[in-house]
């Protein structure tokens, strides 16, 4: 099971809390998913979200507040400081948006915010791209977890750059890696886990499904299967068929 900043979590699924049809369905989805961590946004609800936050706390899972909607290091740092007070945790999912259409991270502001927050004692979970150099800088800034995107937030496109994600896993074998954003289907989540990723963070794929509770269960199953497959050391791919039963005595070319 994944270990983030010395804390072991009993599930590889991290689930967002936005956009569900109702808080009741959100709570049911969490129960069915077995998710160990809930991400929660501070910014848009600032100044009146207490009822909703109380509801999230009552889920009984770890909380990972995020800086969703921030467009600069300064905004993100302020939001993180507010989140630390509101949720009484030094964990922060650091999100600094750089592009209006793709919502992809502004990696320059991200590294700067990570440096400031890490030196202030925060345990930073940066939402980043799969760029190796950016990830190197984030680790140097004090991050001990990396959360590369699979695809743009809310797009449901899956893993846009499987090669890049595999290269990242190979480059940082000892750093906890989480695919964050872009997951639309259980097969996307399973594919990332089969690559050796430690966890999956998703929200829309469950919240926007016709039956969020059933989709939460499907995601949990897929993530378990993908993790088990990684641990089982999958066979190598080959271009030539290798028969599983002897072919001696049969005609073959």
């Amino acid at each position: 099971m994944p270990v983030f900043y010395g804390t072991e979590i009993d599930s590889s699924l991290m689930l967002g809390t936005a956009g569900y049809p109702s808080p009741r369905i959100l709570a049911d989805a969490f129960a069915r998913s077995g998710a160990g961590i809930a991400t929660v946004s501070l910014r848009r609800e600032a100044g009146g979200g207490q009822d909703f936050w109380a509801l999230i706390r009552s889920l009984g899972v770890g909380l990972l507040p995020n800086t969703a909607g921030c467009h600069s290091a300064r905004e993100a740092v302020t939001t993180a400081q507010m989140a630390r007070e509101v949720f009484a945790t030094d964990w922060i999912k650091l999100e600094v948006i750089g592009h209006a259409d793709t919502l992809q991270p502004d990696v320059f502001e991200l590294v700067e915010a990570a440096r400031i927050l890490a030196s202030d004692g925060f345990k930073v979970f940066p939402y980043c791209t799969e760029d190796l150099t950016v990830c190197d800088r984030l680790l140097a800034a004090g991050c001990q977890v990396l959360m590369p995107w699979g695809a743009p937030i809310g797009s449901g496109l899956g893993l846009n750059n499987p090669h890049g994600l595999r290269a990242l896993r190979a480059a940082f074998p000892d750093v906890p890696l989480v695919v964050d954003a872009g997951i639309g289907l259980p097969s996307h989540a399973a594919a990332a886990m089969e690559m050796g990723y430690d966890a999956i963070l998703l929200n829309s794929a469950v919240a926007r499904a016709g039956d969020p509770v059933a989709m939460a269960a499907a995601m949990a199953d897929a993530i378990r299967a993908g993790r088990a497959a990684w641990l089982a050391d999958p066979m190598e791919r080959t271009d030539m068929a290798i028969p599983s039963t002897p072919v001696i005595g049969r005609a073959f070319l």
Partner: protein, 315 residues
């Protein structure tokens, strides 16, 4: 038996109206309808089938009779249906909405233009929910309120319809903030509410007549009641612009915001707490569900039934 209803928003007015119609004297204890009630800011869509896309089936079932109930109270109800469109780059949204709702048929561009000439052929496809209706919330509240003002002050059974203010007695009630804009745009005429499905900024436009439109509404998990944020206004106006560029020339008449009372499943509740009966939690379905909840409250008082939205007593 007589009844005092605390709270003069849509819930309280509907209950008092329904009780009086059944011969049970009921009076409202509150100011006349105004901006203090969150129903003042409502869209007034009577659109059970559209709401069914994301709401529980009970919302559809109990919302179907709303238009008739309002008509029977002498409130003008426009029965022109609802049109649902999506931006060209997000056609999947319309297919998904169609899959998850009932009571609609798909129109092509010509079909849309025939219903709403000012939308012309801007959209290739739309869902048309022909049995839905809408009303003007402030007019509806005023009609009920004025009629009730002539009833004698009553005492007796207290029914608490204070909305979010009743959180002192209803611990599981929360606020869901909504923000709206009212504009005047004489260049555009619409005959029915139009919903724009947009992954980031869903919008509905409700025509109020004389070129006036209500644009709504955001949904935020917050009980803050202060003025709309710049972000909310930007999103609502941008979405309206996406629906029709002529909205850019509109005059902004009003900005509004309030917090809707809601329970965790976003369904209403009738609940006895001590001797008081609470009716609350209409969420974004005030004008749609208040008539059904009013009937349930009246049934409960008259026949001691335990209606669908009534949960365990909290003595």
């Amino acid at each position: 038996m007589s009844v005092t209803v605390i709270g003069g928003g849509v819930m309280g007015l509907c209950i008092a109206t329904e009780l009086n119609a059944r011969g049970i004297p009921a009076a409202i204890l509150d100011r006349a309808p105004g901006p203090q009630a969150c129903s003042w800011w409502a869209g007034g869509m009577l659109a059970p089938w559209c709401e069914g896309e994301s709401a529980e089936p009970a919302v559809v079932r109990h919302g179907l009779g709303a238009a008739d109930w309002w008509r029977d109270q002498g409130v003008p109800v426009t029965r022109n249906g609802t049109l649902v469109v999506s931006p060209a780059r997000d056609t999947g949204a319309l297919a998904r909405f169609a899959r998850r709702s009932q009571g609609h048929r798909m129109l092509d561009a010509q079909g849309i233009a025939a219903l709403e000439p000012d939308l012309g052929t801007r959209f290739d496809r739309a869902l048309f929910f022909d049995s839905e209706a809408h009303l003007a919330p402030r007019e509806a509240l005023a009609i009920l309120s004025e009629r009730l003002a002539r009833t004698q002050a009553a005492t007796g059974q207290v029914i608490d319809c204070r909305g979010l203010s009743a959180r002192d007695a209803l611990g599981d009630l929360r606020g869901v903030r909504g923000e709206m804009v009212v504009i005047r745009c004489p260049e555009i005429a619409l005959s029915r509410p139009v919903r724009l499905l947009h992954p980031r900024m869903p919008l509905y436009v409700v025509p109020r007549g004389d070129g006036v439109f209500m644009l709504g509404a955001t949904m935020l998990e917050s009980d803050r009641r202060g003025p709309p944020t710049a972000r909310a206004v930007l999103e609502l106006l941008s979405a309206a612009f996406a629906l029709h560029p002529a909205f850019a020339e509109a005059e902004v008449l009003e900005l509004g915001a309030d917090a809707r009372p809601a329970f965790p499943d976003n369904l209403p509740r009738i609940r006895r707490v001590g001797g008081v009966i609470h009716a609350n939690g209409l969420y974004r379905h005030g004008f749609l569900l208040a008539p059904a909840v009013a009937r349930m409250v009246a049934d409960h008082l008259q026949h001691q039934t335990r209606p669908e939205f009534m949960d365990a007593d909290h003595d």
